[in-house]
């Protein structure tokens, strides 16, 4: 019972801390927020002339962030190998 009360109190404080952080966010759809000013304009302007791909998402996923996507694939590969190692039984 007391454990439950403690965990509820901790949860409330954690939620309060996170909601306090939300107040520092930029406004919704603000064009001058930091995320829109750093690398996004370059991707938007240069994607077609640099990579010949009409879809910006693909160029960011596969080209500008290609290293990231390679390890996403590796994560899936690791998951498959782990399931094989944990579940698969050899026939006797």
């Amino acid at each position: 019972m007391i454990k439950k009360a403690i965990s509820i109190i901790i949860a409330i404080f954690a939620a309060a801390a996170l909601l306090e952080g939300v107040r520092a966010f930029p406004k919704w759809a603000d064009p001058y927020q930091p995320a829109s000013l750093h690398v996004s304009p370059r991707y938007i302007e240069k994607t077609v002339e640099e990579t010949a791909v009409p879809n910006m998402v693909t160029s960011v996923l596969a080209d500008y962030r290609g290293y990231d996507t390679m390890f996403e694939t590796s994560v899936i590969f690791t998951a498959g190998i782990s399931v094989m190692m944990l579940l698969r039984r050899r026939p006797k």
Binding site: A62, F77, G80, R89
Partner: protein
């Protein structure tokens, strides 16, 4: 082991549906450059049609179409294609996944070579995601004993 499930309507419907699903999967893959899509989504659709085959027919029917050993090879092959494209760029004098350097071996200019480099890695992602989804599904659905299940079914099949 999956129970024997004989339903002519579902099985016939799957026979018609699966080729279209596979074609659609390849469409999602190759059209990922200009519309939503790509390797991950296409691979999941491709895996879904094998899962549909298992659900409609039987595990052994699916295994006869697509062998377990080949599937394990495909798991690694997808990641190998991706990393191999990266390494090819490295060996041609660029950075790790700098596809522009592929223009030295492809008959295109560096900008178009980036396009084909992306197509290559998306193909790798598709193969890897497809094989691993199928592998995980097979392991989960039989609790990892599908080789034994396969053998049992073969014995039953010969006795029948």
């Amino acid at each position: 082991m999956i129970a024997e499930w004989e339903d002519i309507i579902i099985q016939t419907l799957c026979r018609f549906l699966i080729p279209f699903m596979q074609t659609y999967s390849l469409y999602v893959l190759v059209h990922g450059h200009s519309s939503p899509g790509g390797g991950f989504q296409g691979g999941c659709i491709m895996a879904a049609c094998f899962i549909l085959l298992v659900i409609a027919y039987d595990l052994n029917v699916a295994k006869r179409r697509f062998k377990e050993k080949i599937n394990v090879i495909f798991c690694s092959l997808g990641v190998f294609i991706y990393a191999g494209t990266g390494w090819a760029c490295l060996l041609l004098g660029g950075k790790f996944v700098d596809y522009g350097k592929l223009s030295l071996i492809l008959p295109t200019d560096p900008i178009k070579a980036r396009y084909y480099g992306m197509a290559s890695i998306e193909t790798g992602v598709e193969i890897a995601v497809m094989a691993i989804m199928i592998s995980i599904f097979w392991d989960l659905v039989t609790a990892g004993k599908h080789e034994e299940a396969f053998k049992e079914e073969e014995d039953v099949g010969t006795n029948r």
